[in-house]
Symmetry: C2
């Protein structure tokens, strides 16, 4: 890079998955570094259905760091963005791009401004952990751009400083965030327990639940919990460590019954400590409760768990079915209890992997209306159908970790201007 103003723009584009915790992270021991009070375990979701794509660019023509999220410029002044940018910049190494004839030394990276454009392939407002995929993608793409040589674990520790659960989105499959012991957080990193092929029977159905309640942000919610709940420390110190061991074992052995029991119990306990917070935090609503009842009745009548449920900081249900056949049966039950509003197109009501809908034998609204009550409730008074309680369903599965997208068509920034396309 010479002293005079040059016109080049150097870019990198990456795609990063979101993840759903099956042993929950709730509560920090250090707010700035985002260090958790317990380990957590997650399943990475298939980026084909839920992911963030981020393009990062540097150019000597940029006069400040800028970011666009889903097309809208947002401020990078927040401490979380600043932490991630600082940590990545400090690890940048000498780079030579022969194609464009660009050389950037470690020292020069410090002075170059970045442009960041990020896009979620799912509604940000739906409460589907967009910040996890977002910060993971920011860190991953910046690391690639700046020729950072650290391994994925070290990158996860940087993503963690953007959003705790983001560290788990640096890997596919089954991931553990080890809380670590160091004061500086250097050992608070994500590790992969198994890749996405390890247990590829699993099918995931997400119910995006309608809600008009304003939700407590997870940041302030978990701070309040740590400050006021009389149960959270017992959970973090006595309950979770045992569950982590059991969950790792269940994943290793493909033991769905243990996996489901642990997943459901830990989701419920996370919501229990939210309720034990002062003032209490309610993330689940009546629709969430109905979905749990539906799954619990089925699991009980089947004698062994068919489906696990887990809820994050919102009313949406993430349902994990033991295999494709069960997933089709799950979708039948969900559509029976929660049919779409009459004016909703089935095609936009069940999105993602539509082959599950085919397996369920449901092609149009007539098929939905013809669904029989599930056998476990057959002899009971039928519960009223809840049209409109669910906005839509997403069918997906465990998926891969971050990837670099080399095709320039997929970049979100214009390669000449470095501005959003």
């Amino acid at each position: 890079m010479a002293g005079e103003m040059q016109k080049w723009v150097l870019m990198a584009t990456a795609q990063t998955p979101t993840n759903i915790a099956v042993i929950k992270y709730w509560g920090k021991r250090n707010e700035d570094l985002i260090l958790a009070i317990n380990d957590s375990i997650s399943v990475t979701l298939d980026p084909a259905h839920l992911c963030t794509t981020t393009t990062v660019a540097v150019s000597p023509t940029f006069d400040q760091d800028r970011m666009w999220l889903n097309g809208k410029e947002i401020s990078l002044l927040g401490g979380r963005y600043q932490n991630c940018l600082r940590e990545i910049r400090s690890r940048a190494t000498d780079l030579e791009d022969e194609k464009q004839g660009i050389k950037i030394t470690k020292k020069e990276w410090e002075k170059l401004h970045v442009h960041i454009a990020s896009h979620n392939n799912f509604p940000t407002a739906a409460g589907l952990a967009s910040s996890a995929a977002g910060f993971a993608c920011l860190v991953f793409s910046l690391a690639k751009l700046m020729n950072v040589k650290e391994d994925q674990g070290a990158l996860s520790a940087i993503a963690r400083q953007g959003s705790g659960s983001a560290c788990r989105s640096l890997y596919g499959g089954f991931v553990k965030w080890v809380m670590g012991k160091e004061e500086n957080g250097s050992d608070s990193i994500a590790v992969q327990l198994a890749d996405e092929k390890h247990w590829d029977d699993l099918v995931i159905v997400i119910a995006v639940v309608s809600s008009c309640q304003k939700e407590t942000s997870s940041t302030s919610g978990m701070r309040d919990t740590v400050e006021t709940s009389m149960l959270i420390q017992h959970r973090a110190k006595e309950v979770v460590p045992k569950r982590i061991v059991q969950m790792e074992d269940a994943i290793k052995k493909h033991d769905f019954a243990a996996f489901a029991n642990l997943t459901c119990a830990d989701s419920n306990q996370f919501h229990a400590v939210c309720l034990d917070t002062y003032p209490p935090i309610f993330y689940m609503n009546d629709t969430s409760h109905k979905i749990i009842s539906c799954v619990e009745k089925w699991n009980r009548s089947a004698g062994t768990p068919q489906v696990a449920y887990t809820f994050d900081a919102g009313p949406n249900a993430v349902l994990i079915a033991r295999n494709r056949k069960t997933a089709a049966e799950l979708l039948q039950r969900l559509l029976f209890h929660f049919p779409p509003n009459s004016d909703t197109d089935l095609n936009s009501y069940v999105i993602g992997d539509k082959s599950i809908l085919q397996d369920a034998g449901v092609q149009d609204m007539k098929d939905v209306e013809a669904l029989p009550p599930p056998p476990e409730i057959k002899d009971k008074v039928p519960a009223p159908k809840c049209k409109g309680d669910v906005s839509y369903f997403i069918c997906t599965r465990p998926g891969r970790g971050p990837v670099l997208l080399s095709d320039e068509c997929q970049a979100l920034l214009n390669p000449s201007t470095g501005l959003p396309k």
Copy 2:
């Protein structure tokens, strides 16, 4: 009592209040004797608005024990009824009724059958702890009839064997159920902390919340919690003992802020351990959550608690206002957020102590419609009004313990036949 068949009927009628726990009882250490895993504290509610009236009768003409609840005959075969009947009979003493010329010896009581008629002055189905008032009234009236000489504490230990929380209905005002240490439960009794005059500023508003969910019975619910919750033992052993001390102190000093904070936190924690149960138990619904939000916002904006909330094993809110003025303001807020359905008569929508409604300046539906938004939400987007979410409100206050009703008009059994009037 001579050997030949005689026609006399000897009766006693009593009225017993219900109570609401402010430090909750949840979990037994002995299922048969109903021994709790922690102490609990309750406020007795004014029997003028919520009580059970029970008439018990004996006659040599009765050939079996029989009971009528709200006019309908029910079985006395359940262990809980049998325990109460056995314990009271074993403590019966010689009785001489000079007016009727009846003598019954201790031994003869064992052979005499009883008729019991019981009536709640509030809907049994409303989930307002009818079993607490019911068993307390059964034991109290039988003890009077059978000339039992034991003190109120010993009677509370018998009522406890009918329904745990019933032991707290043997006293007015503020009552503690001491869990006790003895294996036979002899020291698991209720004690009065203060009578109903001690803190007579308090006003209580109960929101009977509409619900179509079938609720888990508290008996099976607390059994499931003890068996499956990883948090309940920590609650019982570490959290509640401290709260009991603090609550006794708050009551003694009329410290409403401490009283309200403890009451709300303990209600929330009880529901938290329900949620931590497997399968999870939900007693509160979206309406319960809305009521909590309304109270929390107000308390926060006032800088000090104005109202405490507590929820038992159902969605109904019991709201305790610091004084009459606050109660009127509370009722305004509740009617603003939860107006009656257009076809509901205000007179049947707010029942109990109607003077609170007068204090609130609300005389008819026009006044309800004219209620302004509470100042704490004035500048925010108004939440949608929730018509029909509340069935009705009951205004009441702390009240007295059981009393014997000497006026025969109030008896529920016919003095000649011993059958329901």
